[in-house]
């Protein structure tokens, strides 16, 4: 929310220098980047509030979900069942029907309780890091993955000793069965003839 309006405000200066098309493209980019940052649920326009007589209930519940309950562990006032949370919800509804916007209401609570009253930090200043880092985490991981796949494509094959190319699942089972046999023969002292029986079982044809 904050972010989208700030960004449009920012880009006004740029607009004058741009040609018609570039302007639209820029606008589109700004909107798109806004979209990435803004959840649709929060993107309801403030105008909607005027349609109802007192306040928009959906908006009120949305704000409830953005404010922590100061006295309960890790709960928003939407979830909390204590009187304080109830009073805070009442304040939100009161302010909404007075025509205040979401931002004003959130600021009101931040002034009183500090930043930690918000269930998620604002997307501005230092705390932008909190929101941007996930994008880097995911795209970083995916591009590392692509690099890894490329190197795997050029990798040397590790063909086990004394065998031709291990081609299929079944073949590998058979091969490993043989290995098992060798291993269990080597360990005759711990022996367990059971092992040999098992590996013969695995050695058997699967088809």
């Amino acid at each position: 929310m904050y972010c989208r309006f700030n960004r449009i405000g920012y880009s006004v200066g740029l607009f004058d220098m741009c040609s018609m098309y570039a302007r639209y493209i820029l606008l589109l980019m700004v909107l798109l980047s806004g979209f990435i940052f803004v959840h649709p649920l929060q993107a309801q326009s403030p105008e909607q509030e005027f349609s109802t007589m007192e306040y928009d209930e959906k908006e009120a519940y949305a704000i409830d979900g953005m404010i922590m309950c100061p006295v309960c562990p890790a709960e928003t006032i939407d979830q909390a069942q204590v009187p304080l949370a109830r009073q805070m919800k009442q304040i939100i509804r009161q302010k909404l029907s007075d025509g205040q916007t979401r931002e004003e209401i959130l600021d009101y609570f931040v002034d009183r309780y500090g930043e930690q009253i918000l269930a998620a930090p604002k997307r501005e200043g230092f705390h932008l890091i909190a929101w941007v880092a996930p994008i880097f985490i995911v795209f970083g991981a995916l591009s590392l993955g692509v690099l890894a796949l490329k190197s795997m494509k050029n990798a040397k094959e590790d063909i086990p000793l004394g065998s031709t190319v291990v081609d299929d699942h079944e073949d590998r089972h058979r091969y490993l069965g043989i290995v098992d046999q060798i291993v269990s023969q080597n360990q005759l002292s711990s022996s367990s003839s059971e092992d040999t029986v098992n590996s013969e079982g695995e050695d058997g044809d699967r088809g």
């Binding site: 930043e115 930690q116 930090p121 995911v138 590998r172």
Partner: protein
């Protein structure tokens, strides 16, 4: 009865000795080739189950005999408590849950040793030692810092009682399933690390690692679902998932384990990803330790703060140990881990699995980031901030949708190499159906972007799976002249990991439907009603009939009766409940829910006023039903995927 307490305390120390002996003995026996010693340590792993079983039984005995001279029993039960809740009280606090964890680990270790396939026997002693290190840690912490058998100086006449939030059916399974799942990750990790320690660096551990991985994945999945269900019915708020720090701590290992059970298939089928699988099981293991650290004395406030304690730093140390050592072993053996073959194409099942892994890890690390960011912010800006539900919803939501979309595409990409043309051919119908779904839903009038994409993806995944099944059945029908039901059953049995996986994918789609419905289309109303007053919510009308007050020895129950009508006609009488526990100064609620595949009608009292009026919350949650039904489907799919191959008796997959 004092003797029972002594028995418990003694067996605890016996278990420590036995576990240490098994751990040290198996390493020494392996290195010096003393087979009798190896055999003896194996037996002592089995014996541990018995010893810890006696230890567990004696704590249960103390609960049943209501021996309040034991601090733990006095702190977590009272005379009014039903005996059936002993099961819950047992792990309601730190001491008991540590004992539970240790007992479960000993059982799993014994099963792991007993049923280890012959292929991994040569390195089994190393794996055993790793399991024992973890077990000894829990046992020592218990004995020295959180002894469940510690005595009170004076025996109180009655105990404090069990936390009322825990007296719910879901609590019989949710905590034990999650704790067992978290500690269970030790077993596949031990197989992986034991294998590379003993220089068995090919695919020896893969089959057994996959089986344990799946079992534990299922434990965690059912634990998480049951936890959501518990939150939905008892927390009196109507939500089912709220990204609480402890929830996250259980969710992250599950995500990583989900990645593991996919990527292990690549090694099983193709002998690739040998390093990656070890890395990923190591990550799962350290996240599981982190999960237990958060749950048992973690530093972050949470609704799970049942057992706040000073155990935090010990767990933190073990978390560091459990993260550094496995990776050290991995790097030590790094040069031995080479893929059996090179990747043939960038467009193949193998690479789809890697992308799936990375997205899953992405969600896990973003969640971890959200947990640690407040600490970072505090260090750098000295500003206290909170990261809660809105953050995770907005950041993880898109990644999850991308992941589910990949879930629809991945299974249609063949192993080794796919051509763009064939991929498009098999994706054509799923994409067409996705578009049809989107168009229909937006014509009905739901135009929110997120759910539209979500429903489109749901349609795509379902179509993809259906087409696979229909094609498989058809060709079986042609080849073997089987009827469709028989062909379907045989198809499932022919490639169980694959078709079991498809069933699990369908369950994921069901969860998606529930999440989308409840997060985007729910209708919520909080009202205060006087007796006889009514309120309209959506097409329902709720009339408050009255409240019955029932006093019990430990609580006062307010049973709120309402009369619900739908579309102007009488529909149902519903009774929801609010229990107030004076000794805890705490209330717990039990919502009245009318659940159908289309929508849940949910009603819960939030406050009972002195004048007889009641504050209630009414919710209409579309499609929630699907989320809970997904649980059994998860189990079914996983069991099919796990069902062992009886070699030689199964016809070849088509």
């Amino acid at each position: 009865m004092a003797i029972v307490g002594e028995l418990g305390a003694t067996t605890l120390w016996m278990a420590i000795c036995l576990a240490t002996y098994s751990g040290v003995g198996s390493i020494v026996g392996k290195i010096f080739g003393i087979y009798s010693l190896l055999e003896s340590t194996k037996k002592s792993v089995y014996l541990l189950v018995l010893v810890l079983g006696v230890c567990t039984a004696s704590l249960v005995g103390l609960f049943i005999s209501r021996d309040f001279s034991i601090a733990y029993v006095a702190g977590h039960s009272n005379l009014a408590m039903d005996h059936i809740y002993t099961w819950v009280a047992f792990y309601a606090g730190n001491e008991g849950s540590l004992l539970y964890i240790a007992f479960v680990l000993s059982v799993m270790a014994a099963l792991a040793v007993r049923f280890a396939p012959s292929r991994i026997r040569p390195t089994l002693p190393f794996s055993t030692a790793i399991m024992m290190v973890v077990l000894v840690f829990f046992l020592v912490v218990m004995a020295l810092m959180a002894n469940p058998f510690a005595k009170l100086p004076i025996t109180p006449p009655d105990g404090e009682g069990i936390n009322p939030l825990l007296t719910h059916f879901g609590m019989f399974f949710h905590p034990p399933a999650l704790m067992a799942g978290l500690i269970g990750i030790t077993i596949p990790t031990a197989f992986a690390l034991g294998g590379i320690l003993g220089k068995q660096t090919r695919d020896e551990w893969v089959e057994i690692g996959r089986i344990w991985g799946l079992v534990i994945w299922l434990l965690l999945a059912s634990g998480l679902l049951l936890g959501s269900w518990w939150a939905y019915t008892i927390l009196g708020w109507g939500g089912f998932w709220f990204w609480d720090p402890v929830e996250n701590a259980a969710f992250m290992p599950w995500l990583v384990l989900t990645a593991f059970i996919h990527s292990i298939m690549v090694q099983r089928r193709r002998g690739m990803f040998r390093m990656w699988n070890i890395v990923i099981i190591n990550i799962a293991f350290s996240l599981a330790l982190y999960g237990m650290f958060m749950n048992r004395g973690g530093p972050v406030p949470s609704v799970h703060s049942f057992g706040a304690s000073s155990l935090g730093w010990v767990f933190l140390l073990f978390l560091a140990f459990g993260t550094v050592v496995p990776f050290a072993i991995f790097f030590w053996r790094f040069n031995l881990l080479r893929s059996a073959r090179a990747l043939e194409s960038m467009l193949s099942r193998e690479s789809a699995f890697l992308m799936n892994n990375l997205l899953l890890l992405g969600i896990a690390f973003v969640t971890l980031w959200g947990t640690v960011y407040p600490l970072i912010s505090k260090l750098i800006t000295a500003q206290e901030i909170t990261i809660a539900r809105p953050f995770y919803d907005q950041v993880n939501g898109p990644i999850m949708l991308a992941l589910i979309m990949l879930m629809g595409i991945g299974p249609l990409i063949p192993w080794r190499q796919a051509s763009v043309a064939t991929l498009f051919k098999s994706l054509m119908w799923p994409i067409i159906v996705a578009f049809i779904v989107v168009v229909i839903i937006s014509l009905i009038g739901f135009t929110k972007l997120y759910p539209l994409i979500g429903y489109g993806i749901a349609g795509m995944v379902t179509t993809g799976i259906t087409i696979e099944w229909v094609n498989g059945c058809r060709s079986r029908r042609l080849a073997f002249r089987e009827s469709y039901p028989l062909a379907f059953a045989k198809l499932l049995m022919a490639n169980r990991p694959r078709y079991g996986g498809y069933i699990v994918h369908l369950a994921v789609v069901m969860v998606l439907l529930g999440v989308l419905g409840a997060s985007f289309f729910n209708i919520q109303k909080d009202v205060v009603l006087a007796q006889g007053e009514s309120v309209d919510v959506s097409n329902y009308s709720v009339k408050y009939v009255g409240t019955n007050v029932v006093s019990r020895s430990d609580r006062v129950s307010y049973l709120t009766d309402v009369e619900v009508s739908r579309d102007g006609q009488f529909f149902k009488n519903m009774t929801s409940r609010r229990d107030f526990y004076p000794s805890f100064n705490m209330a717990s609620t039990r919502a009245a829910i009318h659940s159908t595949p289309i929508e849940d009608f949910y009603i819960v009292p939030s406050e009972n006023m002195a004048d007889g009026s009641v504050g209630i919350r009414i919710l209409v949650n579309p499609m929630m039903w699907w989320m809970w039904v997904a649980g059994p489907v998860f189990v079914l799919g996983t069991v099919i995927a796990l069902w062992p191959d009886r070699r030689g008796s199964i016809s070849k997959p088509l």
